[in-house]
């Protein structure tokens, strides 16, 4: 591999792990990356609160009982910029959410993505999903 290619690959890798980027609260202190969960249930409500949104989901268990889960979502600002508004997820909607469970086994999870009744997948809070927007002309 010539030097230019080494430089380019190094640059790409470096960008991917840039340590200057950080969220404002810890995932690791609250959720377990080794406990992925898939939850199919009915939306009870969605809290549009700062600093992060929360979806309340009633999940039916195999024995017929129902467990209420709370799913953490992205920041209200980020969701709205993505076109995801208060009207996007009405109570009673059947959805599937994938995420990571709370470390202490509580019925809480950090939401990674959501599958709507029509099969459409939405990320819970990131950009560029669902309806990716084109960049302004002068940014291309």
């Amino acid at each position: 591999m010539d030097r230019a290619r080494v430089v380019l690959v190094t640059v790409i890798v470096a960008l991917g792990v840039s340590s200057s980027l950080r969220a404002h609260h810890s995932f690791a202190a609250e959720f377990d990356a080794n406990q992925p969960v898939t939850l199919k249930g009915t939306v009870v409500k969605m809290d549009w609160v700062n600093p992060h949104t929360w979806i309340h989901l009633d999940v039916k268990n195999p024995d017929g009982t129902v467990t209420r889960w709370m799913i953490e979502g992205g920041t209200p600002n980020t969701l709205v910029r993505r076109g995801f508004t208060k009207k996007s997820l009405e109570a009673g909607t059947e959805i599937t959410i994938q995420g990571y469970r709370a470390k202490n086994g509580a019925n809480r999870a950090n939401g990674a993505d959501m599958i709507l009744p029509d099969g459409k997948r939405l990320f819970l809070g990131s950009s560029g999903t669902g309806a990716p927007k084109e960049a302004p002309e002068d940014q291309k």
């Binding site: 230019a4 995932f27 920041t75 910029r81």
Partner: protein
């Protein structure tokens, strides 16, 4: 996992091809401006770029900087050392980086599996290289990196901060941003995982800079009043502003030192220069100085564009900060089951804030 490995191989292969193109473009022209890039004069590290278009003005005649401004970018704060003093990517490098960022943003999520965490899907860092081709946000010093630490600065490294994986005896163990106190300066002015917007509001003799992350509204007096006495200190310092031509110059001092940026102290001094280049571009040149921490000052160039929809909901971080309750509950439950010690460290060693 397999798809990730294949993806990495594919990306590496694509980058390899891009690298070949890059070689052809960079031979003998390592520091030249790519043909499609902005002019050298518009990209240098010197004084603020002159306005190119008609700069809007307030009814009282000041340049109008008002609005919500988006500074997302995939350009890192510091340049990769391999690039030395090279300020700009080649066209091929830029394309490879932006294509990669775009794929990351647009691709459907992978099936859930152990090992990921929210940062992969919750982020909003943008998809474009800053200023078209920049290899770092730092434009001075020439290596595009934060200068060397002083001896004192080195001694302070690693103290305090956020202990993400520690057992948390108290909210006092958590970082300032997690406690919704402040994202800190200059952090709140620099691109991060999401919430990369500011709002500027002006009135005669005053400007206000609102940082989306995590909620600071910094009031900037422009009437020439003296700065506060050295004994009066604040989390985000004391700010004064003035106009130099069409550039709003904002000086911030009097930090209380409780929130440290890379070891910075009460000696932190920030100089922000906001220049409206035209309707669609605001430029921030931010100079960071702390002689007790870094051997010399350093300067960031951060171009911004109007945020789509001009939307900036109030980000009142502490309003419903359930994460703090939840993570402390996790820690207490871990203690009950004997999976973790009851304290991460002696209480008197924690930073009281």
């Amino acid at each position: 996992m397999r798809s990730r490995v294949l993806g990495f191989v594919a990306v590496t292969f694509a980058l390899g091809l891009a690298g070949i193109v890059g070689t052809a473009q960079t031979n003998g022209a390592q520091t030249q401006t790519p043909a499609a890039g902005p002019t050298t004069a518009a990209r240098g590290a010197g004084p603020a770029t002159a306005a190119k278009g008609k700069v809007p003005r307030t009814p009282w005649g000041d340049p109008d900087l008002q609005g919500v401004w988006d500074y997302r970018t995939i350009t890192p704060l510091e340049r990769n050392r391999e690039l030395g003093t090279r300020e700009f990517y080649t066209e091929a490098e830029k394309k490879a980086l932006e294509d990669r960022a775009g794929r990351r943003m647009d691709a459907p999520p992978e099936e859930i599996r152990p090992g990921l965490n929210h940062s992969q899907w919750w982020t909003d860092p943008g998809r474009f290289v800053s200023d078209g081709y920049r290899t770092s946000l730092i434009v001075d010093p020439p290596d595009g990196r934060v200068p060397a630490l002083t001896a004192d600065g080195r001694a302070r490294q690693g103290r305090g901060g956020n202990r993400n994986n520690a057992v948390n005896a108290s909210w006092l163990d958590r970082g300032d941003q997690e406690r919704c106190i402040t994202y800190g300066l200059p952090s709140a002015s620099l691109p991060t995982l999401y919430n990369n917007n500011i709002r500027i509001v002006q009135a005669p003799g005053t400007a206000v800079i609102v940082h989306e992350m995590i909620h600071e509204a910094r009031v900037v007096p422009l009437d020439g009043r003296p700065r506060l006495n050295d004994n009066v200190r604040a989390w985000i310092g004391d700010t004064r502003g003035r106009w130099e031509g069409d550039t709003l110059v904002v000086e911030t001092t009097n930090f209380n030192g409780k929130h440290s940026y890379r070891g910075s102290t009460t000696g932190l001094h920030l100089t922000e220069r906001y220049t409206r280049i035209d309707e669609g571009r605001l430029e921030l040149r931010l100079t960071v100085s702390d002689p007790t921490t870094w051997e010399k000052p350093w300067t960031v160039l951060l171009p911004m564009r109007p945020t789509e929809g001009q939307l900036l909901l109030e980000y009142a971080c502490h309003e419903d900060n359930r994460s703090m309750f939840n993570l402390l509950e996790v820690a207490r439950d871990a203690e009950k089951t004997g999976k973790a010690p009851s304290r991460s460290e002696p209480a008197d060693d924690r930073q009281e804030r």
